[in-house]
């Protein structure tokens, strides 16, 4: 067990609903290179879904398709029972899909608090005039959202750095602030691209706890890319395995773990 404790209820006992996101026959090409080849899978409401695979398998590309940053040449994305039309990334964010990045993508010149507040911008609606005069809705909103953000700050235990410019923080805390910024948007689906990359064991355990708690307390659906197999097997309800842009396995961790194709992909297979 990497974290989370033994008391975690089995998937059936938690509120896992119907599929909220469905990827249907997604194919993504960059020029002559096919990054994703005809992949379909779904994500159920409230579950933790992992995407794993060797380097270059197309995992991050898949996340970029979900967040609208890449547009697949073929295939459909169905979100909450509707086929998603071509959207710009900020429109996808507005629909309730938030994400973190493999390489931290925080706003270096802003404080931790401002970074997290930026995550809530789609929940704020004061007019420019009201903001200019700091009057009425603008002022009320700022205070109300600050309250919400403080709750997330408490949850992720970063109270002591809330006014520190992000650039000064150590790596582990930056990762946590990025998670906080994504959670602040109150997303329906949270995409995490290697949230534990480059962390030591202790930081990984903390991060696992935060991910599980976010899933339990806020009921956030989580799609996660991770290389640490221990973490993936412990956290996730179902796992998609990719290799060279193709899906080679899909199912609960215990079945995927013993799948022949997965073992071959990770360990290599003798040709000849």
């Amino acid at each position: 067990m990497t974290g989370g404790g033994e008391a975690r209820p089995a998937a059936e006992d938690r509120r896992i609903g119907p599929a909220i996101l469905e990827m249907r026959n997604i194919t993504l090409r960059f020029g002559g290179v096919t990054a994703i080849h005809d992949i379909s899978f779904d994500v159920r409401e409230g579950e933790i879904r992992a995407i794993i695979g060797p380097n270059g398998a197309g995992k991050s590309s898949m996340l970029n398709v979900i967040s609208g940053f890449y547009r697949p040449q073929e295939g459909e994305v169905w979100f909450r029972g509707e086929r998603r039309r071509r959207l710009r990334p900020y429109e996808v964010a507005r629909q309730g899909i938030a994400r973190t990045f493999q390489n931290i993508a925080l706003f270096q010149g802003m404080s931790v608090l401002d970074n997290i507040m930026t995550g809530r911008l789609n929940l704020m609606g004061a007019s420019i005039l009201a903001q200019a005069l700091w009057w009425g809705r603008a002022e009320r909103e700022e205070v109300a959202h600050r309250g919400k953000v403080e709750r997330i700050i408490d949850f992720l235990e970063i109270q002591h750095v809330r006014k520190t410019p992000v650039g000064r923080l150590p790596y582990g805390l930056k990762k946590r602030v990025e998670l906080a910024r994504a959670l602040a948007a109150e997303p329906r689906i949270l995409l995490l691209d290697e949230p534990m990359a480059g962390m030591n064991v202790e930081e990984k355990e903390d991060m696992c706890r935060f991910i599980l708690d976010a899933n339990d307390e806020f009921g956030t659906t989580i799609v996660l890319i991770e290389h640490d197999m221990g973490v993936v097997m412990d956290l996730s309800d179902r796992v998609v395995v990719m290799d060279y842009g193709r899906k080679i396995a899909d199912g609960p961790p215990e079945t995927v773990r013993t799948d022949r194709a997965v073992i071959d992909a990770y360990l290599g297979v003798a040709h000849g």
Partner: protein, 358 residues
């Protein structure tokens, strides 16, 4: 011992988010405002108003405007002179077309016209960044100056090609034209500068300001968390140009009175305002004032020192001044890219702990 957070407990998020969290700072700014509005107008003479205070306030407005675009939203602009010219010519056309309307309203409308023009020239920013955008705005600078020289309608077909401000008064008090008292010029500019600085502060600490800064710090991440880059960049261009336009209108109508566009609003002016925000501090309202004060006061000081004090020739002093300004810009870019505002911030951090820094 006055400069402390200790004992000044915040009990609400509104109190914690205020501009000056330290009580001493708040009182200091209030004192400056009382002095600026209540005492200085009675003391100011023609030399101080025209050589120092009025240009300082006008450049401060322009610097805040450019700082919103460059310092907060990260879009470099070299078109400031051109946009100031738009403000000046819009103000001139409005003043001559509607003489019965208050000139203060004309100045605000001139800002609005400039905002629209600025948005138009901001559209390329969606496709191009950095260097390339700077060159595109430089094109705006040259195009606008050329336009105001070329089309006689803009200067009402006057023989000299200049525009000159007709006499207008507010509440029976002349604010434009030759008969304006120095303290009236000063008060008009001060009122605009204080009001616009307050609005800029509100905008930059709220949701819109955070969107600008998000675009500045990492535009791709900003878009993925939900910032609409089109809206963020165009609002920055519009609001920035509004400030620059008001500064141009004030410079023409209140300060200079008569203007020849290539001379008053050439590319030199664009660089001057850019230097102000670099020296003062990118992304800081206080820095805009500090930079404007520095570059307005420096020539006056050097002239007094070198010409009157040491008896150098005016030409030599002017060249030395250019060299000093150039050296300072290099110095700030290398040593302290966040400018005077950052030095001031560091001094305040130190002061908070003084005299026991450990």
């Amino acid at each position: 011992m006055l400069y402390r957070e200790a004992g000044d407990f915040k009990t609400s998020y509104a109190a914690d988010g205020q501009t000056f969290p330290i009580a001493f700072d708040r009182r200091r700014y209030q004192a400056v405002l009382v002095l600026a509005f209540g005492v200085v107008p009675f003391l100011v003479n023609d030399y101080w108003a025209n050589a120092v205070l009025v240009p300082f306030l006008i450049y401060a407005i322009a610097a805040i405007g450019l700082n919103i675009l460059t310092g907060y939203c990260g879009q470099v602009s070299l078109g400031t002179g051109g946009f100031m010219a738009v403000g000046a010519y819009a103000c001139y056309k409005l003043m001559t077309a509607f003489p019965e309307v208050s000139v203060l309203l004309h100045i605000l409308l001139a800002g609005t016209v400039t905002a629209l023009v600025g948005m138009l020239f901001g559209i390329p920013s969606l496709r191009i960044k950095g260097f390339y955008l700077a060159v595109a705005t430089l094109a705006a600078q040259f195009f606008l100056v050329w336009l105001f020289n070329k089309v006689p309608w803009f200067y009402n077909h006057s023989a000299s090609g200049q525009i000159s401000a007709p006499e207008r008064s507010v509440l029976g008090l002349a604010v434009t034209g030759a008969a304006t008292a120095p303290w009236a010029k000063y008060l008009v500019c001060l009122a605009f500068a204080v009001g616009l600085a307050w609005i800029a502060r509100n905008l930059t600490r709220g949701s819109l300001g955070r969107q600008w800064m998000a675009i500045r710090d990492m535009d791709i991440a900003a878009e993925i968390i939900g910032v609409n880059p089109l809206r963020a960049k165009l609002t920055a261009f519009a609001i920035s140009s509004f400030y620059v336009g008001v500064a141009g209108a004030l410079m023409f109508a209140v300060y200079l009175g008569a203007v020849e566009v290539g001379e008053a609003f050439g590319v030199n002016k664009a660089f001057l305002v850019l230097f102000m925000i670099i020296i003062g501090g990118l992304g800081s309202i206080f820095g805009s004032f500090a930079g404007a004060a520095f570059l307005v006061l420096l020539p006056v000081l050097l002239k007094n020192l070198l010409v009157d004090g040491l008896g150098w020739s005016t030409a030599l002093a002017a060249h030395v001044e250019l060299m000093i300004v150039g050296a300072l810009i290099v110095f700030f870019l290398v040593v302290e890219p966040h400018g005077l505002a950052q030095l001031w911030r560091l001094a305040k951090e130190k002061l908070r702990l003084w005299p026991f820094p450990h």
